[in-house]
């Protein structure tokens, strides 16, 4: 599922991969009658949110990091569906579409201005050259971290709080997985900001003067 950056901004953020979550939300009267499947969905969503956030820390391709963070946020939506909080799932889906599209378009701007360089280790010190991209990327990253008064704060904090308060056997387990996934989310978002915008300049000399 790879493509040009505007295409993946549309597909990975809003339309294609969230189709599964929308299917679950739309078929919620079917799922509410079967307890076992709801439990299974909660476990799968929680483990995915944890596991994909853990993968995204160790990726160096800037688009792969953002794609794995999409996978992690989809895990959040899945286990909040499994805990019968469908309204929170559609709320997080809506917010996630906006800030992830912003992140993908910012990544596209960075990649094109560095002549199709996607490795984060070969970037650096772009805060001088691309200040507007830096501002947009900062808004998206702080929103996905859950910085107060941005959109990700409202939905993600509400999902975590409701997960803490639900009395199902696996809700306590899922709560800790989701908390660690939120920690990993802030870790890789800060990592992108540092590697791309703030560290020492590691770009090639050929495209150093052009940007």
């Amino acid at each position: 599922m790879e493509g040009p950056t505007p295409v993946s901004a549309l597909l990975h953020a809003a339309t294609m991969v969230t189709g599964g979550v929308f299917l679950v939300i739309r078929c919620s009267p079917i799922f509410e009658y079967s307890n076992i499947i709801l439990c299974l969905m909660t476990l799968i969503g929680g483990i995915t949110a944890f596991f994909c956030a853990l993968i995204a820390i160790y990726q160096y391709d800037i688009k792969k990091v953002i794609a794995y963070s999409t996978c992690s946020q989809l895990g959040y939506m899945f286990f909040s569906c499994g805990l019968s909080n469908y309204h929170l799932a559609i709320f997080h889906l809506f917010n996630h579409a906006f800030f992830k599209a912003l992140l993908f378009l910012g990544a596209g701007s960075i990649i094109h201005s560095l002549f199709d360089e996607q490795d984060m280790r070969r970037m650096g010190n772009l805060v001088i050259n691309l200040p507007y991209t830096f501002i947009c990327f900062c808004i998206g990253s702080f929103s996905i971290i859950g910085f107060p008064f941005l959109t990700g704060f409202y939905s993600k904090d509400l999902i975590l709080e409701v997960t803490f308060n639900v009395y199902i056997i696996d809700a306590w387990f899922i709560y800790f997985l989701a908390l660690f996934a939120a920690f990993c989310t802030s870790l890789y978002s800060i990592k992108i900001l540092l590697f791309v915008f703030f560290f020492k300049n590691n770009r090639f000399k050929s495209n150093f003067f052009v940007v």
């Binding site: 599964g20 299917l23 799922f31 079967s34 299974l40 483990i47 995915t48 994909c52 989809l74």
Partner: protein, 74 residues
């Protein structure tokens, strides 16, 4: 790519079961008829499974494959 096709096969299973028992795939009709099918049993190789669990499981596999959850990711 192959994972999406696997998930689509399971989603087609769910649609076939819905058409077989409800004679329709209309959302509103299925949701309103669902309480009357709660005690329906499917016998599958000696296992007696509830119809509602089987349909929900197949739809869940379709959703997992579509949104790249664990098990059907890459």
């Amino acid at each position: 790519m192959i994972m999406n096709r696997i998930a689509d096969v399971f989603f087609i299973f769910a649609l076939v079961l819905l058409i077989l028992y409800f004679k329709s795939v209309n959302y509103i009709l299925i949701f309103h008829l669902m309480p009357f099918f709660l005690n329906e049993i499917i016998s599958f190789f000696g296992f007696n499974l509830k119809l509602i669990d089987v349909i929900a499981f197949f739809i869940l596999i379709g959703a997992i494959g579509k949104s790249a959850q664990i098990g059907l990711h890459t």
